[in-house]
Amino acid sequence: MKLELHKIHVSQLRFGPSTGLEGSCLTVNAEELRALLLEDSHLADVELDIAHPGDSVRIMPVKDAIEPRCKLEGPGEVFPGFIGPVETVGEGKTLVLEGMCVLTTGRLVAAQEGIVDMSGPGADYTPFSRTCNLAVVLHPREDVKLHEAEHACRIAGLKAAHYLAAHCKNHPADTVESYEAPSLREGLGAHGSLPKVAYIYMLQSQGLLHDTWVYGVDAKRILPTLISPTEIMDGAIISGNCVSACDKNNTYVHLNNPIIRALYDRHGKDLNFVGVVITNENVTLADKQRSSSYAVKLASMLGVDAVVISEEGFGNPDADLVLNCVKAEKAGIRTVLVTDEFAGANGASQSLADSCVEGDACVTGGNANATILLPPMQKVIGDIGQADVIAGGFFGSLKPDGSLEVELQAIMAATNELGFNRLGAYTI
């Protein structure tokens, strides 16, 4: 498999009569896009808005972030199972509108959605303050059930992202990146002396709207399996998560997984990146035991020397992380864990709900319980009334002047466990 990412840099968004690019400015025909999204009868209304880096704008509650992509060549279409057919993706050419993002927002389905501040102190804590954002404010019909509303909002974000990219197909790319995903026979036989490394990619699958989808399949229903990293770049994994914003893997970070990027960067230099194993984080102990055993078995079958394991979310997924770690180490596979911490406001409490002595190489995305005061913004896109009920917010979070006192937990991707953000921590 070989995938080329044809990247076009977008530095400005505006509304206008025809959707398309002029230089690095993307014009969006708002009425055309609204009409496309309103084809879904679950939605009563859709509003579109634009926010640029540095604007005095707060977007909340944000459900998902999606980078616009579409296929230029190759089988299938991006976001298989949702936008594209359930055809294997990850080959050919894919157009990427980088520097911009679709953020789905509005009063959605659950308390656990995030904040994106485009300026001020909060902007430092979210990577989406540095993208030009098209905010898609969704209003599901009142009579639509919760899970149907989540589904409608999830699809709307993917549709909008695909629509934007598909209207830029004739624009030349600024950069082209090429990613090879060779057969196992070829990959395992290459780079003889270098340590073989796989990536165990844990996907949130607790249910109750804490879900991830793989080719349209609910990840709680999968056994761990192999996936090509290039399939992930084409949107084979998408987020359906209404869960704490700081460390859920939204669709944008799945598409741009920094662990995969880093493994590619070092491939053939100091390691041989041989594959990705996706696994889940289900809600029964039997599921956790089965999935951890199966994921580690796949790594053993690959014969790898080491695995990088990333967690999604916190709390009981810490048990999945620890099970994956212990079983891999016992199988003779060295591990590096990537997680974040819920160590109390002062950082002095136990960081994870579970631990193990084998987990001696751990990367953290920071402490999500740390609090921050977000000053008022001139404009709020979405619904600021949600501040008191989002995870990381609390009664009284919203001050009379419009400022917010929240835990970092409430900020989109603040402590991302793929290393997507800039936050970290050190041991004292």
């Binding site: 249910g207 809600v283 102990l285 048990a319 099970l323």
Partner: protein, 66 residues
């Protein structure tokens, strides 16, 4: 005072230092099971509670999963 920890993820119960541990059904419904009918679910719940009461009255010298 003896304490019984009823929770679905045993390794976490062990990690937090519980001495008497009763494994339960699942995180969203530790003492229930929405796939069962009402009578079956009541029987399941009673069984778990009785197990917990037994654990509560049992002497233990180390972390014990009942």
């Amino acid at each position: 005072m003896p304490v019984v920890h009823m929770a679905s993820i045993v390794p976490i119960s062990q990690s937090v230092g519980a001495n008497r541990i009763i494994p339960t059904v699942a995180i969203p419904h530790p003492l229930g099971d929405p796939t069962l009918d009402a009578a079956e679910e009541k029987a399941l719940r009673r069984k778990l509670v009785e197990k917990a009461l037994t654990a509560l009255s049992t002497n233990v010298s180390e972390q014990t999963v009942f």
